[in-house]
Symmetry: C2
Subunit: 404 residues, 2 copies
């Protein structure tokens, strides 16, 4: 038997208003999480219940490719011509952010995605919101703006006291569900296990008509690349954790103040909890040729995957890197361990990277800013090429302030 | 971006024949996993990559209820009459094995479930098969015999060497996918993370017409309860692990031989890898009034949940406990830690527990045995009552031999 199924249908709009108070920037005003206010020890830190953070927990891209490719070869070496034929037919579903499965009913497809990871912020409620936004982001990257159903995946850390568990887990669940409501969907079930590391994630599914999604393979020479959220979330959440670790903090304190780090952390939290839904809706309005969302493999990793799946002989060249204020300096000061400016720093619930017709891109960015109060940036161009992506030698770093 | 999406459509029948060779019992003939044959150390044990096993990893039922109930109350205490109204409408989706979500298109519903857990057998390929069968089982419990799509969830243990990872993970993946093919479905995507404990699970989804599923709330007085797999999987996998642990083994060696334990282990592995699909299909043929599958909360836990959701004033009384041979004795010899005969021992990928009209039950059991070569058992009756379930004082234990 599955764990539990909750089916409370709620007025999504009500929940959004409750959360946002009508002010699209008010998430940024949320007070820091205070463990004492929840009867927890002052030293409680959710991020200590895992050794890896957020999308930084992914199996490295090249390892994963090896594991999965091996499997595909297995499946294609059976000498069965039927299988070979299937390989020759263009398939939807390989290398996309979601799986897209034709259904038995009415020309519909099932669009689905799953993701789970570990705490990277200390506020359990915000952690739930971020996890939900991160799962939904895969649907949004494919231009799917409606989610029909969500499931929640939870791992309760073996290292939590009962008290911690009883306080923290409901907060995470509530954040996840509130984010789902904000997205106009509901969480109807899930699975909860005991695990050494606290784990949070979910599954998002939509049954769609073919015109509801955008297959991300249609970039043409002359398109531009737009990014809808700044980079640097992984740097910010680590820098914030280092405030408690003097030997780490000493390495970066010459380039940032404590205040800078707190601001960046809240900017990152706000950014990660923000849904890519409007960004997705506007992809239809401005005729996007394809998109992906930037997460565990970093900007360049995801740009490369997107480039590799294009129908046309194109390549992506990235000139500009919008980064949460001061995080480029922090990334440099700590020995380039994140490889942020090389495009390899993991992001969690990052922005959409979208191929747009050049003449539509500025209007896209203006529209998203008008609707949400957040900037988007033209960061690169689509050239003729061999389906690869690169960042130019000295990219321009755009410092994105904590408050816009 | 999601991890990977593989979309190879394969001839399911071909795969089934490959695996089973046309003999429904041939799974039981599978040779024990030999680490050396895969270039691993002779001492390699997959089960050592987690401290909990299979569905034994679930958060205790009462804790989970508390966490989830708290959330539901939250959602219903907002003073919004809309929410209250929703609570008053009979919902599909609470306490069921799957979530059932009405869709925007054509009167269809999305039936979905997810599950993941830790290794409980040492054969990685079989572990993959068991994980897949276990996820699908939630669909089958609702009478849904077609699965439209699966996603795979994997946690690669931080304690695995690269070599171990590269051998074991593809075997697990392949087992999972072969089981999906046997079920006539495909794995089109997934998520892979690094985790202290090796983790394996998935998501199963179907878009169905209303007549394709059986809402499990229709038991009537006079029905009987049928169970389609023996109990004792958790006892068997633990006893097998104790073969390597002299101090544990000494506690049970008076009641079982090494050979008994090996047989029981293989019987358990075979049973857990077996799909509940035919059991599900026959629910329609013999007019089942509802079912659930027996997993982490044990026979009684799941019987109680099923009883609590009945429309009629009924209770379930269980008289017979079919148990893998010798495992009842083992459970007693080790101080009743499993509470097997009390109905609390966790099962993984257990059988369906089905409410059937009395006059159809024998035919159901005969039909399943004819089609699959496995016994099913009438284990109890449905009486007038207050929607609870119990096991009688001295239930009859049916010893289920390793080979039938």
């Amino acid at each position: 038997m599955g764990d539990y199924q909750v089916g409370v249908q709620q007025d999504a709009l009500g929940a959004v208003q409750l959360e946002l108070g009508g002010n699209p920037n008010s998430l940024a005003l949320r007070r820091p999480f205070d463990p004492l206010a929840h009867d927890l020890e002052a030293s409680f830190r959710l991020t200590r219940f895992a050794d890896l953070k957020g999308r930084g927990c992914k199996v490295p891209q090249e390892v994963l490719n090896k594991l999965v490719e091996g499997l595909q070869q297995d499946y294609n070496s059976g000498g069965d011509h039927e299988h070979f034929m299937h390989m020759a037919i263009p398939r939807i579903g390989i290398g996309l952010d979601c799986s897209v499965t034709p259904l038995r009913h009415g020309g519909l497809v099932l669009v689905q995605t799953t993701d789970f990871f570990y705490p990277l912020v200390d506020d359990p409620y915000m952690m739930g919101k971020i996890a939900c936004a991160n799962v939904l982001s895969d649907l949004y990257a494919m231009g799917v703006t409606e989610c029909d159903n969500m499931l929640m995946l939870l791992g309760v850390s073996t290292k939590m006291t009962e008290k911690e568990r009883d306080v923290v887990i409901p907060l995470i669940m509530r954040g996840f569900k509130d984010s789902a409501l904000e997205a106009g969907t509901t969480v109807t079930g899930g699975q909860t296990v005991v695990n050494p590391w606290c784990t949070i994630g979910g599954v998002a599914s939509t049954v769609a008509q073919p015109n509801e999604y955008i297959v991300p393979d249609n970039a043409v020479v002359g398109d531009v690349l737009v990014l809808t959220k700044p980079l640097g979330t992984q740097v910010a959440v680590n820098a914030h954790q280092w405030l408690d670790q003097p030997e780490r903090w000493n390495r970066i304190k010459l380039v940032v103040s404590e205040e800078d780090v707190r601001k960046a952390y809240h900017r990152a939290m706000d950014s990660m909890a923000r849904l890519n839904r409007i960004a997705s809706r506007l992809m239809h309005k401005y005729n996007a040729h394809g998109a992906t969302d930037v997460t565990g493999f970093g900007l360049l990793g995801h740009a490369q995957t997107l480039a590799s799946h294009q129908k046309n002989e194109v390549s992506f060249v990235i000139h500009n890197l919008p980064v949460i204020a001061k995080m480029a300096a922090v990334a440099k000061a700590c020995g380039n361990m994140f490889q942020l400016l090389q495009g390899h720093s993991a992001e969690t619930s990052g922005g959409l990277l979208i191929c747009l017709p050049r003449e539509q891109a500025a209007a896209y960015c203006k529209d998203i800013e008008k609707q949400e109060g957040y900037q988007a940036w033209i960061i690169g161009i689509v050239e003729k090429g061999n389906r690869t992506a690169r960042i130019i030698d000295k990219p321009r770093v755009i410092e994105v302030p904590a408050k816009e």
